[in-house]
């Protein structure tokens, strides 16, 4: 029997008194595109950040590729992994941020080669060839030597996607990748993501682009107040939601 690529079990995350995630359980299967939707503050970003360990969870567990994230079980207790081991686990996920977070002092090409050369210690010329290929793939072959400040928002986000892909992750996390973009630039980023989805990449996408979700997602998860309210095939959740809260959300955003 095959196992899901990501298994999230009874995860809770608190910020002080506030429960940002409350008993969240979810499977993500290899090759699947999952879209996470929900109102502002419902915990979507927090869930992604827990998966790539930018945030630590307070209860429950997340398994990626069969490996428990962030902690090791030993003698009936959980022990936190070292920073080094967490860094190694992070290499399995690529993250694309809402506000791009490109390194402004490095060119587009250098942004992409930074991880493979510095973290993975791979050979510079081989990495460079791959990076140029990635830039071509996101339609920015001509911008290799441009600094982020010289690129439009859409171009910056496409470089950011290439930067994440350069680490050869098995899972790509997108946190509202188009919501900081001018409307006319949204399409070019979504096109890159569609191509990525077709290539078989496993993706978790937090988005307000319901059209994208309808077209690309295999599964849609609706979150509210830190919990998963409804989850299912994209056409079902978006087209014929079962839960009242999902219905209310969908009718509000359309």
């Amino acid at each position: 029997m095959t196992k899901p690529l990501v298994a999230i079990r009874s995860v809770a995350k608190n910020f002080g008194e506030f429960q940002a995630l409350n008993n969240v359980s979810l499977d993500v299967w290899s090759g699947e595109v999952m879209c996470l939707i929900g109102a502002s503050g419902s915990g979507k970003t927090t869930l992604l950040r827990c998966i790539n360990q930018l945030a630590t969870i307070d209860a429950g567990g997340i398994w990626l590729d069969g490996e428990l994230l962030g902690v090791r079980e030993h003698g009936g207790k959980l022990h936190r992994l070292s920073e080094r081991e967490i860094g190694r686990q992070r290499l399995k996920t690529g993250m694309v941020f809402q506000r791009f977070n490109l390194f402004p002092h490095k060119t587009a090409l250098e942004n992409i080669t930074e991880g493979p050369t510095q973290v993975q210690g791979r050979k510079a010329d081989e990495v460079r060839t791959e990076a140029l290929e990635l830039l071509r793939r996101v339609g920015l072959a001509a911008k290799a030597d441009s600094y982020p400040a010289q690129l439009s928002g859409g171009q910056q986000q496409r470089v950011a996607i290439a930067r994440a892909l350069a680490m050869k992750p098995m899972l790509m996390l997108f946190d509202e990748p188009t919501s900081a973009l001018d409307p006319e630039l949204v399409g070019e980023v979504l096109a890159v993501m569609k191509e990525l989805a077709r290539s078989g990449m496993t993706m978790m996408v937090v988005t307000h682009e319901l059209g994208f979700a309808r077209e690309v997602a295999d599964r849609v998860v609706y979150m509210d107040q830190g919990a998963i309210v409804e989850e299912g095939r994209a056409s079902d959740v978006l087209g014929a939601p079962r839960e009242e809260r999902t219905k209310a959300f969908l009718s509000a955003v359309i």
Binding site: N52, R90, T93, F97, R99, N101, T107, G115, V119, Q150
Partner: protein, 285 residues
């Protein structure tokens, strides 16, 4: 009523008119007054008890030139030590480890809280506290032999500078967006690598102007090392006037050299700033 397409009448045509030049009386009067004051000061100095021939003779005297070399060597080395310590202490201060944090805070508190000249004297007189220093069983030496004026000045100036530089560095690191740190982590970087490769290079842009300031202060602060016999510019100038009693002339010589050095440093700082402005729009144009 608003007519459909004609502009309203009654507004004169301004095309072809220029902005008139105003006479700026106040600027002329104040400039004249300032020139008058400057002339009076210059006259006072020209007629005062100053032998200008001594100034020009000693301006390039060997001892003075050696002094300026020693001053610059000390300023550069102490600044390097200061920046190294500053970076390390700033990183310690921003670390989650409470022990490192309080050690760093204590260092800054101690060395910013006492006068620099006192610290120099303490380092120089360390032999009074520890007659011999060394690693037990491996190596030891008499402190008076080790703690030369050079080493005492370097430690005194550098360690003191580190306390100030750490605050400048900390401010620079805090000025870098937290998203940069997260993006670095997301591509698998550890804390230190993210600091070195991503955060510090961006912080440099912010810290160079204040560090330039600090370096200029450092050049002048080396003159305090004259009290512990380090042969820098002021110390050597003093030695000459102890012999020939031309106090003011030699102080003017030293002053001119300090001014010259500081004047050269300012454009150097601009070059550095440009180097670290890589990727900012201003340069990209």
């Amino acid at each position: 009523m608003k007519p459909a397409s004609a502009l309203a009448q009654g507004f004169p045509d301004l095309s072809g008119m220029r902005i008139a030049r105003e006479p700026h009386w106040f600027r002329w009067i104040s400039a004249a007054l300032i020139l008058l004051v400057l002339a009076a000061i210059a006259r006072a100095f020209a007629n005062g008890q100053i032998e200008w021939s001594y100034v020009s003779r000693f301006l390039t005297a060997k001892v003075i030139l050696e002094g300026i070399v020693n001053t610059m060597v000390m300023a550069v080395l102490a600044m390097m030590l200061g920046i190294f310590l500053g970076v390390v202490v700033a990183i310690m201060r921003l670390s989650p480890n409470p022990v490192l944090k309080s050690v760093a805070a204590g260092y800054t508190w101690l060395f910013r809280g006492t006068p620099l000249i006192l610290q120099l004297l303490l380092w120089f007189n360390l032999a009074l506290v520890f007659p011999t220093i060394g690693i037990p069983g491996l190596w030891s030496a008499r402190a008076v032999d080790v703690m030369t004026p050079f080493l005492a000045a370097l430690l005194g100036l550098g360690i003191n500078q580190g306390a100030y530089t750490s605050e400048v560095m900390r401010a620079g690191m805090l000025s870098v967006d937290i998203g940069q740190y997260e993006a670095a982590q997301a591509i698998g970087m550890g804390r230190l690598r993210a600091l070195r490769r991503i955060v510090l290079p961006q912080a440099m842009r912010v810290v160079i102007p204040p560090l330039g300031n600090e370096f200029i202060s450092m050049v002048k602060a080396t003159s305090l090392a004259s009290v512990i016999q380090y042969p820098e510019l002021l110390h050597n100038a003093e030695n000459i006037y102890y012999a020939n009693s031309r106090v003011i002339e030699l102080l003017i010589v030293a002053g001119l050299w300090y001014l010259l050095v500081v004047s050269i440093l300012t454009p150097l700082q601009m070059l550095l700033e440009r180097r670290f402005a890589r990727g900012t729009l201003r340069l990209a144009r």
